[in-house]
């Protein structure tokens, strides 16, 4: 009993260290990738100076951010203001605990893993609200308000889309959901849910064309207008880590997780397939960002409540009916 407890603890601590290292490195890589993708879409090269093809650019930027002064506005609610960037990063780390990178490569394979991820990723909106409110800046406040409204609106169709997958597998455990897709990925069985999930996930992570909480041309920088130095850096890293998590969840729920296409693994280990799919999804998200203009706030809301929600409900009902009668 005692030794089992000890091995459990070791597993958690080692897992946490790996998660911290991976999420940070991954975010650094994603920032670089985003700039490269943007550059090549826009007929330029992107970062080229620091390291081969600018791969170390983000590290240089990170060092610069750490060295910068942390400015707290005089009129800000400083307690909330300081805590918000920390708060925004915590749920992100928790989500890594249940992500199934491979059949046996998951820190904690909980039977409520899917629920845990969405429960915690919802928390980050609180941090955004706290940050936007505490800064005592009208632009930041507007950004925070928009962010909350948007997250509430898109959480519901997102969860309904996930629910239809959960109905099919009768489970909220990631390993079981992925195992059920060893032949056919759920994106082919649940194309509507998959599409809804991807759109909502883009909105959840505040990415273009749904990046209205930080709409640069309107709200300057939205909720993190007043943040400087590494506090801003944390918001920034959290955004990219969030992107990774939604892509990973989408991979696990709809794109067959660690399985190769149609059950053929081509000799590659599961983690390679998993990460490959995640990065392809991430590339798509970036591609979308640098192609589309931003939607307007009310249009975004209408789209969620009037299109996405009925569609996901309908999809859920159809799924349930099909499962019941077949």
């Amino acid at each position: 009993m005692g030794s089992e407890m000890a091995s459990d603890w070791i597993r958690i601590i080692v897992g946490l260290i790996i998660v911290l290292a991976f999420s940070q490195l991954n975010a650094l890589f994603l920032v670089w990738l985003e700039r490269k993708v943007a550059g090549h879409i826009q007929l330029r090269y992107g970062p080229m100076e620091v390291g081969p093809h600018g791969i170390l650019q983000t590290i240089a930027d990170g060092i610069k951010l750490v060295g910068k002064e942390l400015i707290t506005p005089l009129s800000a609610d400083w307690k909330l203001f300081v805590i918000a960037p920390v708060l925004v990063f915590m749920p992100v780390l928790v989500a890594f605990l249940v992500l199934p990178f491979d059949e046996n490569l998951v820190i904690r394979d909980m039977n409520l893993g899917v629920l845990l991820i969405f429960a915690f990723s919802t928390l980050s909106v609180l941090a955004i609200l706290a940050g936007g409110w505490a800064a005592n800046n009208k632009y930041a406040l507007l950004g925070a308000i928009r962010s909350v409204a948007q997250n509430v609106a898109y959480e519901i169709p997102l969860l309904l889309a996930v629910l239809s997958v959960a109905l099919m597998t009768q489970s909220l455990r990631f390993s079981e959901i992925v195992a059920a897709q060893c032949r056919v990925w759920f994106i082919f069985l649940q194309p509507v849910a998959g599409l809804i999930f991807l759109i909502c996930a883009t909105a959840e992570t505040n990415r273009a064309p749904f990046d209205i909480p930080e709409a640069e041309s309107e709200l300057i920088a939205g909720f993190h207008t007043e943040y400087s130095g590494m506090r801003f850096g944390l918001f920034f890293l959290a955004e990219y880590t969030n992107m990774f998590i939604v892509s990973a969840v989408a991979t696990a729920l709809f794109f067959g997780g660690w399985h190769g296409p149609f059950g053929f693994s081509f000799g590659l280990p599961g983690i390679v397939w998993f990460l490959l799919k995640v990065y392809i999804l991430l590339f798509v998200i970036m591609w979308v960002r640098w192609t589309f203009p931003r939607v307007r706030f009310d249009q975004l809301m209408n789209f969620s409540w009037k299109v996405m929600l009925p569609l996901s409900l309908l999809n859920l009902i159809v799924t349930a009916a099909v499962l019941k009668f077949i």
Partner: protein, 373 residues
């Protein structure tokens, strides 16, 4: 912990200070917005941050010395302003201009108009949140700047025109570069239309947004593409043709509703029309001197006044010059198109969302230094 009692909030209206350092106010415009949530109750543009006193400067310089100032009011269509000023003074002082110079001026002015519209296109889409078309446009615009750089020697603030002609003659390289550019620009329309015009998000962001009715436009003196988007085909190049514009076959594109989408379409079509003008001018380009060598060195218009209107990239622009017979203008007033175009915003902004306000401001295409002068 003693909590201070706070009066319950009755008034939900708050003021947002948009600018003068906001990323999308295009220069140093400040707009005081009274907001109810995200809806604008009242908008109050504040101008004057870029005031340099160009009009007063004109009174202390000879006409020739004022030439560099003329292109620094609207930095996006500097050559058009330069052209207009030279035309006004030439008409005032009665300076003869050779035929070739007239064509050269028209070609360069229209190139400048295209570059101004291209920049507007890019920044407008950027206001709407799409960053990529901006760099595509700048790639195209770079070509124009290279072409104009070759003949005028500068890339933004041109002092190319002279009283009685232009500074430098066109060469074969210029002509082939211009023709190649027009061909290239035309091949780019498909890209632009696929990227932007047909984009459903773009259409939803611009259709029925910021409607300027013809009545409103007349009241506030809205001119240029904004006026034409309301359906009024007013263009100084057609209504009072100056230079050699009456010799070219081009149409004035108009819109129907006067919304942001119409303004967008009108500007895009205007670029095509400018291409047509340039092509015709290149075909008709006569031989001869590029400057009137016998023009007086010191321009001294007779006592009196002149009002000369021309079409800049933003609409009807005019120089009003008063002379007391000396080589210095007694008064130089400039009627700028952006002033009227900006004024109408107070009406148009009412009841719109903040996001739309940015979109409308971008679609109007104001250049603040031109208003502030």
């Amino acid at each position: 912990m003693a909590e201070q009692f706070q009066e319950p909030v009755v008034e939900q209206i708050y003021t947002l200070n948009l600018g003068p350092q906001h990323p999308s106010t295009h220069g140093v415009l400040r707009v005081l917005l009274d907001l109810d949530g995200e809806f604008i109750i009242k908008a109050d543009p504040v101008i004057g941050y870029g005031h340099r006193g160009h009009e007063k400067m004109a009174e202390n310089r000879t006409y020739k010395q004022f030439m560099p100032n003329s292109s620094r009011m609207d930095y996006l269509s500097g050559l058009l302003y330069n052209h207009g000023f030279v035309l006004a003074v030439e008409r005032f002082a009665g300076v003869e201009v050779p035929e070739r110079a007239k064509y050269i001026r028209v070609i360069c002015a229209e190139l400048n108009r295209i570059s101004s519209h291209l920049l507007w296109f890019g920044t407008y889409i950027m206001d709407l949140g799409g960053f990529t078309p901006f760099l595509y446009c700048f790639d195209d615009r770079e070509n124009i700047l290279d072409i104009l750089d070759r003949v005028t020697g500068s890339r933004l603030t041109y002092s190319y025109c002279r009283f009685g002609g232009v500074n430098r003659d066109l060469d074969g390289e210029f002509i082939s570069m211009t023709r190649a550019f027009i061909e290239r620009l035309r091949s780019r329309w498909t890209d632009y239309h696929n990227l932007v015009t047909k984009n459903v998000i773009f259409i939803h962001r611009t259709r029925d947004v910021g409607v300027i009715t013809p009545e409103l436009a007349r009241q506030y003196g809205v001119v240029g593409p904004n006026l034409r988007a309301c359906g009024i085909p007013f263009d100084v190049r057609k209504s009072e043709p100056y230079e050699v514009y009456d010799r070219f076959d081009f149409v004035i594109p108009t819109g129907t509703k006067g919304d942001a989408l119409d303004r967008y379409n009108v500007r895009l079509e205007e670029m095509e029309q400018s291409c047509r003008i340039i092509e015709q001018a290149l075909d008709q380009l006569p031989e001869g001197p590029h400057i009137n060598e016998v023009a007086p060195f010191k321009v001294k218009p007779p006592r009196g006044e002149i009002y000369f209107a021309f079409e800049s990239a933003r609409g009807l622009t005019a120089y009003y010059l008063v002379s007391d017979g000396s080589p210095y203008p007694y008064r130089c007033h400039i009627r700028v198109p952006s002033f009227g175009n900006l004024q109408v915003l107070t009406e148009v902004f009412r009841g719109t969302l903040v996001a739309d306000a940015i979109s409308i401001l971008g679609s109007i295409d104001v250049v603040i230094p031109e208003i502030d002068r």
